[in-house]
């Protein structure tokens, strides 16, 4: 297995109704990522894009983006899920030894079509979709209730997660929802979507794009002075809604175990310096703490109570603001990956001190059915 490093990245500003087309958004991040890695398009071996047909409203959503993503006459493919899966596929292509330098690019313009409506089409069409009450938000509310009754966390704990992330986001120039002075009361009093979830507890869909450049060991050393190495990868998919334990993220636990094994991590709480997780809904951050092994089951709320996951805490989570600060659906996970890279390189606004090992997590599907974990390090 060949080693893979991330040598360049680019993120667009997250905004609503961005004044650019899909093509422009993808072109900008792809070009910027190549520039930051110090490579030309000629150096690219392969390009993987991530977008979905339903969100873009186009069958074969990547077919008109070949020029913009720099994939013209390149070994090319598309992951129809979160951008981090595109990065995973790109990494696999490098690990196999077929390619040396890869571009992974993802984008979503949520303005085009409400992503929460798309999730209705994710429902199994024979029974669940007939029930008009079911959609991503109500199902997440159901999941939140399940988690709360199991762990004893209450609405205020959920609100505290939002406060932490939205305050972190205030320093992040790319973030979409920033609230430097938000309080628990404000979160709880914002518009109720589906009890217990209020507006600020739900990741706000927005427009955005992101790109990363991955390279093999030899290529990374040639192009880059401070490559960030992918030390571990774990990927797992859960069963469908009705067939799984909705109150736990079992697939994330399995994915994390695989990634830790690959990276040689035994005590995640101590060995990981920072984690960037995709919490589409506030309670999913607690569930991620537990599934990632940062605390024992049901103890997620203690981490928040004690401030351990603040930027200055023992295990900072989402110093960038996480998905709650802006959710360009397909790019969300890839932005987490990029924020983890920036932490290791020491380039962020909310810098964690002595950050050497970082974790990035992406989720996909209803109630985080699919989960992907990357462990990044400043050395092999």
């Amino acid at each position: 297995m060949k080693r893979v490093a991330i040598i360049g990245y680019a993120v667009s500003r997250l905004e609503w109704d961005a004044e650019k087309t899909r093509e422009e958004a993808v072109f900008e991040v792809a070009r910027e990522a190549m520039r930051s890695a110090g490579i030309e398009r000629e150096d690219l071996g392969t390009a993987i894009s991530a977008s979905t047909d339903f969100l873009d409203g186009r069958t074969i959503s990547n077919c008109m983006l070949i020029g913009a993503s720099g994939a013209y006459l390149k070994d090319e493919s598309k992951a129809e899920e979160d951008g981090m899966y595109a990065a995973l596929y790109a990494a696999q292509r490098i690990m196999s030894g077929v390619h040396d330098v890869a571009l992974a690019v993802s984008h979503t313009h949520s303005w085009i079509f409400n992503p929460h409506q798309v999730t209705q089409y994710m429902l199994e069409p024979w029974f669940d979709r007939q029930n008009e009450l079911l959609n991503e938000i109500t199902l997440a509310a159901l999941q939140a209730r399940l988690y709360m009754s199991r762990s004893g966390a209450d609405e205020e704990h959920l609100a505290e997660v939002c406060v932490k992330n939205l305050r972190n986001a205030a320093k992040n120039p790319a973030a979409f929802r920033k609230m430097a002075d938000v309080t628990v009361e404000e979160v709880l009093e914002s518009r109720l979507y589906s009890s217990p979830l209020t507006e600020l507890m739900i990741a706000p869909p927005c427009d955005g794009a992101a790109a990363v450049i991955l390279a093999s060991e030899e290529a990374a050393k040639e192009f880059c002075d401070d490559p960030v190495w992918i030390r571990g990868i774990g990927n797992a998919c859960d069963r469908y809604l009705r067939d799984r334990d909705l109150g736990r993220l079992d697939s994330l636990r399995i994915a994390a175990e695989r990634a830790y094994r690959m990276a040689g991590i035994e005590e995640p709480f101590r060995q990981i310096d920072v984690a960037e997780v995709t919490e589409r809904f506030a309670h999913q951050e607690f569930m991620a703490y537990e599934a990632l092994g940062f605390c024992r089951e049901g103890m997620g709320k203690v981490l928040i109570e004690e401030g351990m996951t603040e930027v200055y805490g023992e295990i900072p989570v989402n110093p960038s603001g996480g998905a709650l600060s802006g959710d360009p659906v397909c790019a969300t996970g890839m932005i987490r990956l990029i924020e983890a890279v920036r932490q290791i390189r020491g380039e962020t606004e909310n810098q964690v001190e002595e950050c050497r090992t970082a974790l990035a997590h992406a989720q996909w599907g209803l109630c985080a059915q699919k989960n992907l974990v990357f462990i990044l390090g400043d050395r092999l």
Binding site: R22, F27, G57, A68, I112, F113
Partner: protein, 174 residues
């Protein structure tokens, strides 16, 4: 077969639709608006990639080959050549139904007419465009023949102003 023990001829059916009407796609500002605006003066405008020299018609923002933005506008020739062509059979009612509308019945297309679709490259451009080829019998069309743009009698700066292409010279074939 591992899972399905019992065989049924038909599954149950439930209805549903993909609500395509709700999408709000974004299109590039400036490029194509200018393209159709120039139709009013009966001009065809394209963009030029200054790196490889290809002229794109209709205009394109990004040159895939050079991975650069194409910022320069150029006016291109109204003369071109036929690269390939399709010929429809004589049109009948009920044959061309688009978005639930019978195009012949609604009068968009004439009954019995044969439409020639030509893939045309205007001189000096790097693009091929699909345009109706008019004022010629289908039997006389040849690959490589020279054609010129045909404009509507009154051009309003719309896509429809460019009606199609017609032979640039009188065609004489046996």
């Amino acid at each position: 077969m591992g899972l399905i023990k019992e065989k049924f001829d038909k599954t149950m059916q439930v209805e549903g639709e993909w609500n395509i009407g709700a999408y709000r796609w974004k299109a590039p500002e400036g490029y194509l608006d200018e393209y159709v605006r120039n139709f009013k003066e009966r001009k065809i405008i394209g963009t030029l990639c200054t790196s490889c020299g290809r002229a794109y018609v209709p205009p394109r923002e990004i040159c895939a080959r050079c991975f650069t933005e194409t910022t320069e506008k150029v006016e291109v020739s109204q003369y071109g050549e036929v690269l390939a062509f399709l010929v429809s059979p004589p049109l009948e009612k009920g044959k061309v139904v688009i978005a639930g509308i019978d195009a012949v019945q609604a009068g968009f297309l004439k009954e019995g007419e044969r439409i020639i679709l030509a893939m045309v490259r205007f001189e000096g451009t790097a693009s091929s465009m699909v345009l109706p080829l008019i004022n010629i019998e289908p039997e006389k069309v040849r690959v490589g023949m020279k054609v010129k743009a045909v404009w509507a009698e009154e051009c309003q700066g719309k896509l429809a102003d460019l009606v199609g292409v017609e032979p640039a010279f009188e065609v004489k074939y046996e």
